[in-house]
């Protein structure tokens, strides 16, 4: 009797697994099988010759990354861009928190709702659309140049989009434009869950508005900030491709190429698949190390893992 019950529970447990098995297969194919693509880094692969007929070259492509000064310089520039733009992001990682805190200070409820709605919108449009908006506004025949020209400020259009020198800052600016309102939502949620009695206590003590922010609100947002900061550090090398791909042009290419874009340009533009895969592989490995490091750091500081 007991045995049949145990057996039935066991079979029920297996049955449940079988239900999710097809989905796990999908995941295996589309998330895990691509790791097999890393073998291309060890072959002399040039399409259309299939991999099976390519020669095995060991670590040749990894060594080739640093074989001469030109290549080293190129890779260094790409790493510099990646560090620069991710670094700017980290440096201003507190912006969404401040945005949420002061948004909460707005008493006019309808105005606050309006600001929140409007500033969240850009998060829901694609980078292609952002670029299209940027192009309409800032290109040589764009609205801004039209306005400057009409007002007599400029004779010839300013080439905002071709500018290379400030591209780190403009790229940072566009991603703030796109994500600031959205990123603030987590903090807004956290502010709403602050215990009423804390405000009460501060009021009894005669705290000013800034003191309430400093001593009540800010401390209660720190754990959210910490988790998000750790995740941001973990994805330091993953700037993504789309933003930089759509904004890149012949003029700003040197300063806009982050690792993700460089890898894409090497393979799809230059046909150097093997080198590109080699860089991809290094990037993924470093990212995993980063993830484990921040996770360890978080366990050490907060006694809780972020992942």
């Amino acid at each position: 009797m007991v045995r049949t019950k145990e057996y039935r529970m066991k079979s029920e447990s297996i049955k449940k697994f079988l239900y999710i098995l097809p989905f796990m297969c999908l995941l295996a194919i589309f998330a895990y099988y691509p790791l097999y693509g890393w073998v291309y880094a060890f072959f002399d692969y040039t399409p259309p010759t299939p991999l099976s007929q390519s020669t095995f070259v060991g670590f040749k492509w990894f060594r080739s990354l640093v074989e001469n000064q030109v290549k080293i310089d190129q890779l260094l520039q790409v790493i510099k861009n990646t560090f620069g733009m991710s670094g700017l992001g980290l440096l201003f990682s507190w912006l969404p928190m401040i945005f949420a805190i002061f948004l909460n200070e707005i008493k006019a409820l309808r105005f606050r709702k309006f600001v929140q709605t409007v500033t969240t919108l850009p998060n829901f449009i694609s980078w292609v659309l952002v670029y299209s908006l940027a192009f309409s506004m800032l290109s040589s025949e764009g609205i801004i140049n039209g306005l400057l020209n009409q007002l007599g400020f400029t004779d010839s259009p300013i080439l905002f989009l071709q500018d290379s020198e400030h591209v780190w800052i403009t790229m940072w600016g566009w991603s703030i434009w796109k994500t600031l309102g959205w990123s603030a939502i987590l903090y807004i949620a956290a502010i709403m869950s602050i215990d009423e009695s804390l405000y009460e206590a501060a009021r009894v003590d005669g705290a000013t508005r800034m003191q309430v922010i400093w001593h009540v609100i800010l401390p209660s947002l720190m754990s959210t900030y910490f988790v998000l900061l750790m995740l941001q550090i973990a994805s330091f090398l993953n700037n993504g491709l789309e933003q930089y791909f759509v904004f890149q042009n012949a003029f700003n290419k040197e300063n806009i190429q982050v690792l993700d874009l460089y890898v894409y340009n090497l393979a799809m533009g230059g046909g150097s698949y093997s080198v590109s895969v080699a860089i991809s592989m290094l990037k993924s490995l470093v990212s995993v190390v980063l993830l484990f490091s921040v996770n360890g750091l978080s366990k050490m500081i907060r006694g809780e893992s972020v992942v």
Partner: protein, 315 residues
């Protein structure tokens, strides 16, 4: 964003006595100014492009339409659909959004529910197996190479299959299901309901709010997706709206010439105000691509605050 938030805002503010009220007012003024400016910065580009698409095209091309439309007409919206491939791309984008979203929502609901079943064989392992893919991937080129070896390049399924299992949405649903009373499932189970019956009859109906949130996120992702077309598709029949918009930004001048030639053949000759320019083509297509988002945004806006808060509990 409800009454509680309003209460808090009022509470925070009246913490004070007269003597620092001038600073308070200055701070308020500064806050209002900055938020107004940023809000304007966020909507002005949309507004500006919309008024440009309905204004006289010659004025628009010279950058003379800045704050309000002039000589309003809607010819541009009729003309852009004469560009070959635009209808087709609209169908591709709509198709992938509808099919992809339904499958993603279905799979997220089912997997979120199944991962909440503590007696499932290897539950912890499979859950981790799923979640870890959020933080780790092989990279775009290895992904492209393996997709090619699976013969999924230039295939509509390349838009659908990889998006079905979405870890983030699974977390959202699982957290939600775990927050609902266990008794509901137990009662159904005692009545002899199997796992599938429980899923369809008990879980799906109570999970509507979170599924709405997932559906919105998934649909926006599908509609906005650009990278998969860029990497995997060379067949123009499978181009999405996002992808052809990107192409149009770079080749709008040849397209405007073509549309104008087509119009010249027809009885209605285009005047200067309705003649297509690079600017008018580019801006009109932009509005067509962004319109679905702008139209549904006010409706779905209220969902995602809730959704993200559920997800934030354990993210």
């Amino acid at each position: 964003m409800s009454d509680k938030a309003a209460g808090l805002a009022v509470n925070n503010v009246h913490t004070n006595n007269k003597h620092s009220s001038i600073t308070e007012i200055l701070i308020s003024a500064l806050i209002y100014t900055l938020y107004t400016l940023f809000a304007l910065l966020c909507i002005f580009p949309f507004y500006s492009i919309i008024i440009n698409t309905i204004s006289a095209n010659d004025l628009s091309a010279r950058g003379e339409i800045v704050f309000y439309p002039q000589q309003i007409h809607f010819q541009n919206y009729l003309d852009v659909f004469k560009i070959p491939g635009l209808w087709n791309a609209a169908v591709v984008s709509l198709g992938r959004t509808l099919i992809g979203t339904s499958l993603t929502v279905g799979a997220s609901a089912f997997l979120g529910f199944m991962f909440s079943q503590e007696d499932m064989w290897g539950r912890k392992f499979w859950y981790r197996f799923t979640i870890i893919t959020m933080f780790f991937n092989a990279g775009i080129i290895p992904w492209y190479l393996t997709m090619r070896s699976l013969h999924l390049t230039n295939h509509f399924l390349a838009y659908i299959l990889p998006t079905i299992v979405a870890p983030f949405f699974i977390i959202l649903v699982k957290t939600f299901v775990e927050s609902t009373p266990k008794e509901l499932q137990q009662a159904a189970s005692i009545d002899g309901a199997g796992i599938m019956t429980i899923f369809f009859k008990v879980i799906l109906p109570i999970s509507k709010p979170i599924l709405a949130t997932v559906a919105i996120f998934a649909a926006v992702d599908q509609w906005n997706s650009f990278q998969d077309t860029l990497l995997l598709v060379t067949d123009s029949k499978l181009y999405s709206l996002q992808f052809i918009l990107y192409n149009y930004i770079n080749q709008a001048s040849s397209l405007s010439t073509m549309v104008n030639l087509q119009n010249a053949g027809s009885t209605a000759m285009a005047t200067l105000a309705t003649k297509q320019t690079t600017t008018s083509i580019r801006m009109t297509v932009t509005i067509i691509v962004v319109a679905p988002i702008l139209l549904v945004y006010p409706l779905f806006q209220r969902f995602f605050v809730k959704g993200i808060m559920i997800g934030a509990v354990k993210g």
